[in-house]
Amino acid sequence: MIPETLPAGVTDAVPANLRRRSRGTFASRGGPWVIGLSVLVSLLALLPIAYVIGVSLQTGWSTVVTLVFRPRVGELLVNTVLLVLLTIPLCVALGVTLAWLTERTNLPGRRWWSLLATAPLAVPAFVHSYAWVSLVPPIHGLFAGVLVSVIAYFPFLYLPVAATLRRLDPAIEDVAESMGLKPLAVFFRVVLPQLRLAICGGALLVGLHLLAEYGLYAMIRFDTFTTAIFDQFKSTFNGPAAHMLASVLALCCLAMLTAESAARGTARYARVGSGSAREQRIVCLRTSSTALGLALQGVTCLLALGVPLLTLGNWLIAGGSQVWDMAELLPALEQTLLFGVGGAALTTCAAIPIAWLSIRYPGRMQRVLESCNYITSSLPGIVVALALVTVTIHFARPIYQTTITVLLAYLLMFLPRALVSLRAGIAQAPVELENIARSLGRSPARALWLITLRLAAPGAAAGAALVFLAITNELTATLLLAPNGTRTLATGFWAMTSEIDYAAAAPYALLMIVLSLPLTGLLYHQSKKTAGR
């Protein structure tokens, strides 16, 4: 199971006992307005998919063939597939090893190491890349792509794996050992299989980021579908070649979702029996293993935190007070905060009806509604933005180039982040309290508002925080959709690095990291809480 805070597209955090409750009363008790709202949000989520299909149909088969089946698309496909196939196993290996070291051994300072393994999430991926190109200028291509991706994204695996390791029942391992298995065999045959869900979820998250990221790969000159779509956009605005690449990319994302859901399997992971699992046993490492473990933690930390912070510090010192151009920085900061807060509020509110339905009246219809949102959020920002630009320019001109469209893009991209946290929050609000409010004459909507939502507020806040974090570091959709004359920290950073003015870009990067830090702390805290410790 993935910690609830992670926007893992496909986790199912609803406890089984809540799920069995009355299905027949869906419409009668859910209230038509809740259903109406969730259908509306889900239909909105389908917009980008409908756009991708619509454009492909409209373009005509022969054009599709010439634009899709050409050597360049083959090159991009090879690049993207290699990137995914190399990065994900490395992230899994690194994430699982680090998690095992911090959770199941007596490695000195393991609490600190655990915090340090989460911290790289506070550094936006394109800032990692910026640090590496300024440290090692010739770095480029597949090797660089894999290196920087592993460094930027391994915490997505570390967090769920560490949380699961903390919760495993040691009794199963005892049984395996009593049957004569060696410790290493116990790890591979008993522990690792139990980590399957965490690994699958984390790997999916890393994979989707690999497909969607633009800034990281643009800066180290590694061409993926996303960078190629961006190049086409810069040459043609929204020409057919960009649309076709976007369609292929969307197919890649769907393939990845399908692969993950097949890899999850149907095995049971909950423990059987009464009482609770006993405390984990801690493995005492030998001196040589301790040294190796410390070296691995140290090197990871150096690469994932040391490199970005040192280069950033260097540029800040080199730039001096000159680079702190407040007339540019303050509006960018203000804009980022406004987009972040506005987007987080809108997304959280939009998630309420769906989250509430999924807890109170789970069923087939609700699952369909929910999966619409998951599929869209797995699409790269560039695809969503391209869809919104095209749709608003032709059919919704009043909201074209307005903040509304930007917030809508954020809503479509980040809804599951709010949904997962909010759902956990609502699940913990007893339905009986809501029922009592109803019996005292409150309307369903009012009861939901007065009772359940107030109890679910911490969950909603966590979800909103995650959305805010995502918006702070969002680059591609913001670049395409931002209203005239607006600039966020991310797009400001990007404008500076595009002119190779690395010193002037440093303050933007620093501000983004500072904004992300408390929220990364929250993520860390939540993953600890999931384990009940």
């Binding site: 050409r70 360049r72 040459s235 020409g239 509020a345 001109r397 508002w449 005239n484 002119e499 190779i500």
Partner: protein, 337 residues
Amino acid sequence: MIFRVPSFLKKALLASALVSAGHVYAADSVGIVVYNAQHESLTKAWVEGFTQETGIPVTLRNGDDTEMGNQIVQEGADSPADVFLTENSPAMVLVDNAGLFAPVDKATLEQVDAAYRPAHGKWIGIAARSTVFVYNPSKLPNADLPKSIMDLAAPAWKGRWGASPGGADFQAIVAAMLEQKGEAATLEWLKAMKTNFTAYRGNSSVLKAVNAGQIDSGVIYHYYSFVDQAKTGENSKNTALHYFKHKDPGAFVSISGGGVLASSKHKEQAQAFLKWITGQDGQAILKDGKSFEYAVGKNAQSNSKLMPLQQLDAPTVDASKLDSKKAVELMTQAGLL
């Protein structure tokens, strides 16, 4: 009934309401919107001077030439843009072919030399830049320098030169080659380029790579090197510039264009802006500022560090015929995009 909302939610809702309100308010402002594909720093200097003198506020939307050209075409009659500024001509041609430009004021046209504006007067040159071959002398001795940009298609140049095919600059060079050499020869050259060259993102990155010795040479515009020299020189100190001259396609001088949109609701202010940047003060910013682009105003001087425009022996290309769409199509066909 007491209807309490969690306070964080209240604040968030209030903030988002303010965002939207702020936007609606901004849309009604009196200033002009400039779709700017020129270097942001240059346009900012122009805007500062213009606003200081006239009091007319200017909002910038920054992007790339053909991106914004296509965007304006799709926006059509409802485009929020009042003025369009580019780095190269093809995007101006794109918008002009869609019939979206209002004629430039006569007085403004007369400020610029006839060679740097199309005869029909729908848009005007605001600055110019020259194609240049940048090389690292320690990697590429002077004797080995190519005579023509067309030579770079030869197998001997495999792995020895770089360019930024995704940028409007290089695409303008291709459009000029298309105009001079025709479609077949251009496509053949582009296919050879795909085999021979290394792709970078942005001319600055090409310059930086040549300077660091990662690649022997590159095709860029002239001013990147001068801009870097004026700063610290750290990305250009190991490089030298070679101008092809002799009316070679590689000696192409690209005209940066400016035009007023026919759909503009602030035409008077928009025309004033165009007049200002092509006038004495605007062109002086090209000479004295940090852009190192060529001035195109009558009697306007370019920066004295630059090789004079007249000595570049550029090919005569009708800027109003440059076809960006075809250029991008050919580049897509050659697998460069």
